[in-house]
């Protein structure tokens, strides 16, 4: 267990148990909430955005009480928050720290860039294979076309 440094002031209050997602690009905080389907979350959820950060200038943070994500679930946010850090809190103490990494497959959340793809007309969950993690290129399981980093958008 790591020893906690004395804090001056917390902009977003501490949680007793759960997951802290830190270092989210400010503009993507609400995207992360959407990807993790937290809009209807029934427990305590603390959100901070445009907070000062030494590393990033401005950053966002989300603290989710009583929630411990599976890695394939949380890794999806790497698409919009590749620099995010994950902190597991138990009994107000940090018990684990980690980083997100881009998964091999991305289901449901991304919209295929190809307007003529069947996933954009029929009610079908999208499925992508990540063929290039560095440049972020996704190949659609259905139309086989590639959606590149700059064209990634999310399904409603």
């Amino acid at each position: 267990m790591e020893k906690e440094e004395p804090r001056k002031e917390l902009k977003v209050s501490a949680i007793e148990n759960g997951t802290v997602i830190d270092h989210i690009p400010s503009q993507n905080v609400f995207q992360v909430i959407k990807i993790l389907n937290l809009s209807n979350y029934m427990n305590q959820l603390l959100i901070g955005t445009n907070l000062d950060s030494n590393k990033m200038g401005k950053k966002g943070i989300i603290k989710v009480s009583n929630k411990f994500f599976k890695s394939d679930e949380i890794n999806k946010i790497a698409l919009v928050a590749p620099s995010a850090s994950l902190i597991i809190i138990k009994n107000f103490q940090v018990v684990e720290k980690g980083k997100v990494s881009i998964p091999d497959q991305i289901d449901k959340i991304v919209k295929c860039f190809n307007p003529n793809c069947i996933t954009n007309t029929e009610d079908i969950p999208s499925i992508f294979t990540v063929i290039d993690k560095k440049e972020l290129k996704l190949r659609c399981h259905y139309c086989e076309k590639i959606t590149a980093k700059d064209n990634i958008s999310f399904r409603e």
């Binding site: 069947i118 996933t119 139309c143 076309k145």
Partner: protein, 303 residues
């Protein structure tokens, strides 16, 4: 291959491709075998494609199968707003195999995941048309004796032509040397070239058709479509450059054959048709044998 859907050319292994070609040559010798008398085949054409549909229906009928289906979406329940999923689920109750053509890319893959029966993709938008690829391979192998180490030229619209993309990918297993002839705007996409490089094969790019003719065993012609050009002037500039005339074939190799997926508009002059090197209509006939082989193999009546 029994019960396996054929959506993308890579769904079958190179060994399975060759097996289909071998079966097709048996059907060429004996086209009328009533080995599918017990079977019902559905041809669902959500967009019209008379040539492909008739080729499949001819193949199925020659094998004794019953054929049901529709030839365009206007005459089906799609017009009433039925989803593809519901159409496929329903029709798979009525038949043993579905042949489908659909304007949306990925539709055949989706159908193969929903259907209880195997799906044969007869074209999904600009994505895949694997039976065309297999009949192209059959035509090449039949006219050249083998698929190995051939010099093959692809001419015309190499950017959008799905038959070109699939055939290039399939031929990458046979030490092919590729000669790519197109206007600069319509070059083969880098994703397809990537497959050639991955196999350490060679490709040459040309803008001049005449230069390539003496070098190759197969000349695979495609149509350059006007709507591919944002500026109609650009189209006018290139359209004449990729038209094959009989007089251009003088220096060609004796074994050269000219292929075209059809329909042809004007990219091969009609004076080429009588040249023994013209093979495109026989190529269309080969399509029936290849589709007989595909139907029979997937339904498991041949091994």
């Amino acid at each position: 291959m029994k019960n396996k859907s054929l959506v993308s050319i890579n769904d079958f292994t190179p060994e399975e491709h060759i097996r289909i070609l071998e079966l097709a040559s048996i059907f060429e010798k004996h086209p009328k075998q009533r080995i599918l008398e017990e079977y019902v085949i559905a041809t669902l054409f959500f967009e019209p494609s008379t040539r492909t549909r008739l080729s499949f229906e001819s193949a199925a009928t020659r094998l004794g199968a019953q054929v049901i289906g529709f030839s365009d979406a206007a005459s089906s329940s799609v017009q009433k707003g039925e989803s593809l999923r519901d159409t496929i689920l329903t029709v798979s109750n009525y038949c043993d195999l579905i042949v489908m053509r659909h304007p949306k890319e990925g539709s055949a893959r989706f159908a193969s995941e929903v259907a209880k029966v195997p799906i044969v993709n007869a074209g999904d938008g600009a994505n895949q048309h694997p039976t065309q690829t297999l009949l192209d391979m059959y035509s090449i192998r039949k006219t050249q004796g083998s698929l190995d180490k051939l010099n093959i030229a692809f001419v015309g619209d190499l950017k959008y032509g799905r038959t070109v993309h699939s055939l290039v990918m399939a031929l990458c297993h046979y030490n092919t040397t590729f000669h790519l002839v197109s206007p600069p705007e319509l070059k083969l996409p880098s994703a397809v070239k990537y497959h050639i490089k991955e196999r350490n094969l060679t490709y040459y790019q040309y803008t001049d058709l005449l230069e390539v003719i003496p070098k190759v065993d197969i000349l695979y012609m495609t149509r350059i479509q006007k709507e591919r050009f944002s500026d109609p002037l650009d189209y006018e500039k290139v359209k004449m450059a990729y038209i094959l005339k009989n007089c251009m074939l003088e220096g060609a190799k004796p074994n050269l054959k000219i292929l075209h997926p059809l329909p042809r508009v004007n990219e091969i002059m009609t004076d080429v048709d009588d040249n023994p090197k013209a093979y495109y209509f026989t190529q269309a006939l080969n399509g029936v044998y290849v589709r007989q082989a595909i139907l029979a193999a997937i339904l498991g009546v041949v091994d």
